[in-house]
């Protein structure tokens, strides 16, 4: 199966730059061209980030650092489960950015179907995380496919009210 290198789509929207990242973040992920395309407030959609390796963590941290040093107010939204894993593991993964929402994973053990649900990082996030997700195929209640006590453990470090919406 072919692997998917990092790619992005940029759309200026009023006074906000909207960016959607897709694929794997690795040592081969060169963010320099993207830094040139983003200025001012920016919203980054991370729903399609599929995997991040150890070199990719550094590439990403340096990218976020370059944007925030340049004065960009960065909001991260729809962080995929691999991104959330890094938010929980790496101290500086989103330093200087605001994490607005994550995609929580749910899994139907009967149909072996994966689902995600966007969870806004507000004071009700933990409750919404535990609400069952109904399987679109069989109607069964899918439970959160991660550790409830750990999945949002980064929240205290990164969450803050967001300013930009798409």
């Amino acid at each position: 199966m072919a692997r998917k290198p990092l790619s992005w789509k940029v759309e200026p929207q009023n006074d906000v730059t909207w960016v959607a990242l897709s694929g794997e973040i690795t040592e081969a992920s060169d963010f320099a061209p993207l830094v040139q395309q983003v200025s001012g407030p920016a919203v980054m959609d991370l729903a399609e980030v599929s995997r991040i390796n150890s070199s990719g963590i550094r590439q990403w941290i340096n990218f976020v650092s370059a944007l925030t040093r340049a004065g960009c107010r960065l909001t991260l939204q729809r962080c995929s489960p691999p991104v959330v894993a890094q938010l929980n593991m790496s101290t500086d993964f989103a330093r200087g950015a605001v994490v607005r929402s994550v995609l929580a994973p749910y899994y139907c053990t009967d149909c072996k179907q994966e689902y995600t649900r966007e969870i806004a990082l507000d004071e009700h996030a933990a409750e919404r995380l535990m609400e069952p997700y109904t399987c679109a195929q069989c109607g069964a209640a899918c439970e959160l496919d991660d550790l409830p006590d750990f999945f949002l453990s980064f929240q205290a470090r990164h969450a803050a009210p967001h300013e930009h919406t798409r």
């Binding site: 070199s55 550094r58 994973p105 053990t109």
Partner: protein
């Protein structure tokens, strides 16, 4: 505590004192007194004999402190994690040494194992495709497929960039940008194995340098678990997060080292359930050394 000379087994609730002639101390971490835990974490002299921690979870919470003191070289997570076979293999390797290498010591394959040889760094992408295909063919949870690829990724990067040393023991490629192609001579190539026993997915890489040291491995893990400002290396080369990523992506991480001859990394992922089942398992970690 096991004393080889008299084949004696002692059971106690105190840590073995420094200098005590034990070949191995098995420590049930949750059974330690508060004083004994404090002693391990820095409030007193550490035991000098090899330690094998058996834990239901507390040990993981104290991991940063135990790594800082370089005491955690062998840990078996008991609850839903390590199997009796793992305990047997671990004790055998620690007491007898000898042939410590081989993924097959942990897994009896139920799906055809696969093996590969890596001769250049650019083969990594191809190998990750093989890893992904293998894990998918084993019909494991999709998020575990991704973790398996991450382990393969970090294992190969370590074997290709960090392991090779020159005749003086100096690293050849550690500080090389990870996008720069590295070629390995035939006698330097990396051996990779995939295996699955219907319960655990396994992967191993072996390099013929044996340059990884216990101290370096523990130093990197301690730095990452400390989560300080130095967590990510900014020098040219790796980010210094590889072992940490591996540890977080497996159920059991084993490192076998024959200094100057061979290093083998083994990763086992409990793939018997969902990602949540996997993430809830206690982790196991071993470093074995041989001559």
């Amino acid at each position: 505590m096991l004393r080889t000379v008299s084949a004696e087994l002692e059971i106690g609730d105190a840590l073995p004192p420094p200098g005590a002639p034990y070949d191995l101390a098995l420590i049930h971490y949750e059974g330690l007194t508060a004083d004994a835990r404090a002693q391990l974490l820095g409030a007193g002299p550490a035991p000098s004999c090899p330690l094998l921690f058996i834990s239901d979870g507390d040990c993981h919470r104290d991991l940063p402190g135990l790594l800082e003191r370089r005491l955690l070289t062998n840990l078996l997570g008991r609850q839903n994690g390590a199997t009796p076979k793992d305990l047997s293999v671990t004790v055998d390797k620690l007491l007898k040494g000898g042939d410590i290498f081989g993924l097959d010591k942990y897994l009896t394959a139920s799906v055809e194992p696969r093996s590969f040889t890596i001769a250049r760094s650019t083969q990594k992408e191809w190998l990750l495709e093989q890893a992904e295909d293998y894990a998918r063919a084993c019909d494991v949870h999709p998020r575990l497929v991704s973790l398996y690829c991450t382990v393969a990724d970090e294992f190969v990067s370590n074997a290709v960039y960090n392991a090779p040393v020159d005749e003086h023991g100096n690293s050849r490629y550690r500080n090389v940008d990870r996008c720069t192609e590295v070629l390995l001579a035939p006698h330097e190539q990396v051996h990779v194995e995939f295996s699955y026993d219907g319960y655990r997915l396994g992967i191993s890489t072996a390099d013929p340098f044996g340059s990884l040291t216990r101290e370096r491995l523990l130093q990197y893990l301690a730095k990452c678990f400390r989560r300080g400002p130095d967590q990510v290396d900014q020098r040219t080369g790796g980010a210094g997060l590889g072992f940490y990523c591996i540890y977080q992506s497996v159920t059991h991480f084993t490192v076998n080292i024959a200094p100057s001859r061979r290093t083998e990394l083994i990763g086992l992922l409990d793939a018997s359930g969902t990602y949540r089942d996997f993430a809830g398992k206690q982790k196991s970690f071993n470093i074995f050394m041989t001559e």
